[in-house]
């Protein structure tokens, strides 16, 4: 009976928060499929620790931390087998192509130029509205380093947007 109640609580949490997790995961990894996988991994880990977490009321913070660690782990694993390059190869010719490069994908490309740590810092700071102290704890980095990553990340984003010709997007002034 207790187990059933616990499962129901988990389902309710997953229902209400999975979507936010997925959006954050996408900002981190830039790929919806990977974002869904990261979300799933996070939900599994939360479920495993559910009884402890639910009592302490640390759900969202823990979920954020698990997601972040899962993403950084994934990047470490991928780096040993994949060769990232700065730019996409030439687009295929138009015939039969289903590519629809819209503005958001271009913006995502700009975000993808940042290092995983810089991206993590920016996403936590500006998307998840976390303060520097919390980010410092989540990433296990000194606060000064977090601020530095934040500043450099914004500068990198500005440069990438400028190169992609969308520097004026949304009246961007940062």
């Amino acid at each position: 009976m207790a187990r059933r109640k616990s499962d129901a609580e988990f389902e309710s949490f997953a229902d209400s928060y999975a979507h936010q997790l997925r959006a954050t995961a996408y900002l981190l990894c830039g790929n919806w499929h990977t974002a869904e996988d990261l979300t799933q991994t996070t939900l599994i880990k939360i479920y495993l620790a559910w009884s402890r977490l639910n009592r302490r009321g640390e759900l969202h913070g823990y979920a954020r931390q698990v997601l972040l660690r899962s993403y950084l782990d994934l990047r470490r694993r991928a780096s040993s087998t994949e060769v990232p390059v700065d730019e996409l190869p030439a687009e295929p010719s138009a015939t039969g192509s289903t590519v629809d490069v819209d503005e958001g994908i271009v913006l995502a490309r700009a975000l993808a130029t940042l290092s995983p740590i810089q991206r993590s810092v920016l996403v936590l700071r500006y998307w998840e509205d976390q303060d520097v102290a919390t980010i410092s704890r989540l990433l296990d980095l000194p606060e000064g380093t977090v601020k530095s990553h934040c500043s450099r990340g914004l500068a990198g984003l500005r440069t990438a947007l400028s190169h992609l010709g969308v520097s004026s997007y949304l009246g961007m002034r940062f």
């Binding site: 187990r3 499962d7 988990f10 389902e11 309710s12 997953a14 229902d15 209400s16 999975a18 979507h19 936010q20 997925r22 959006a23 996408y26 900002l27 830039g30 790929n31 919806w32 499929h33 869904e36 996988d37 799933q40 991994t41 939900l43 599994i44 479920y47 991928a78 994949e82 060769v83 990232p84 390059v85 730019e87 996409l88 190869p89 030439a90 295929p92 010719s93 015939t95 192509s97 289903t98 590519v99 490069v101 819209d102 503005e103 958001g104 994908i105 913006l107 995502a108 975000l111 993808a112 920016l122 996403v123 500006y126 998307w127 914004l154 984003l157 949304l170 961007m172 002034r173 940062f174």
Partner: protein
């Protein structure tokens, strides 16, 4: 500029990025969605090892998937989620079974084209232009051997040949470089494919477009396009991948 403005602007940028998520009806076939579900459930099962957990997490996964479908008409724009009614996990039906080149069978896999069926232009295949008759300018050719949506695995084969007076000659290059790029993922995977071998790549298959770009000698860009988890078109052009001059096509 002051910090609140900066915060708002960056958040707006992130919201615009998140709003670009693909909508299911446009980009994802039922087979691909089912393949993803199977893959996730296998991972969940492997991680958890408990029936209760599998059921609980599958429920959450289904809620995600189903919400995707609901959101088809109205892409989400970075808002906090609304609570959705829990959905009931469904057991995916087994799709057609196919055999991979290694002999393993998996549910949901797209039936394979026969190996070598599209490696080289067959006699009578439309080949136009002077290039096709020039042994110094070989016809690049290859094929997707298998697309296994259940295991999210793509197997491809590439070869190179040239045609003289209607006869096919195998040029047998030592290595061919294969590049995989996804429309939504600005990371390129690059492999070297030794001659006479197939190569498998395992990972999430893109819904909209999976492009296998093969670059040999750096100046030819034939490509393979896989849409919705199926081999939609195999086209190897002579003019830098220009599909208006196919030397080998296999529409499935």
């Amino acid at each position: 500029m002051d910090e609140p403005d900066e915060h708002r602007d960056v958040r707006q940028l992130f919201a615009a990025i998140v709003a670009t998520q693909p909508t299911s009806s446009e980009t994802t076939s039922a087979a691909v969605r089912q393949g993803r579900r199977i893959r996730r459930r296998r991972r969940v099962a492997a991680a958890a090892g408990g029936v209760g957990l599998v059921a609980a997490v599958a429920l959450s996964a289904n809620a995600l998937q189903d919400r995707d479908l609901v959101m088809t008409e109205t892409p989400q724009v970075a808002e906090r989620p609304a609570t959705a009614a829990p959905s009931v996990p469904s057991v995916p039906s087994r799709g057609p079974t196919a055999t991979s080149p290694t002999g393993t069978r998996s549910p949901g896999a797209t039936p394979l084209p026969s190996k070598g069926s599209s490696r080289a232009p067959s006699p009578g295949t439309s080949v136009s232009g002077a290039d096709a008759l020039d042994p110094a300018r070989p016809v690049y050719c290859g094929s997707v051997v298998a697309v296994d949506t259940a295991r999210a695995r793509l197997t491809f084969h590439a070869t190179m040949s040239y045609r003289v007076a209607g006869d096919i000659h195998d040029a047998r290059p030592e290595n061919i470089t294969v590049r995989l790029a996804f429309s939504e993922d600005p990371v390129v995977r690059e492999f070297t494919l030794p001659k006479g071998t197939d190569r498998e790549w395992e990972g999430p298959l893109a819904d909209r477009l999976l492009e296998v770009k093969r670059l040999a000698r750096g100046d030819k860009k034939p490509y393979v396009t896989v849409e919705d988890g199926k081999v939609a078109r195999i086209s190897f052009g002579l003019n830098n991948g220009n599909p208006t001059m196919p030397t080998c096509t296999d529409s499935r």
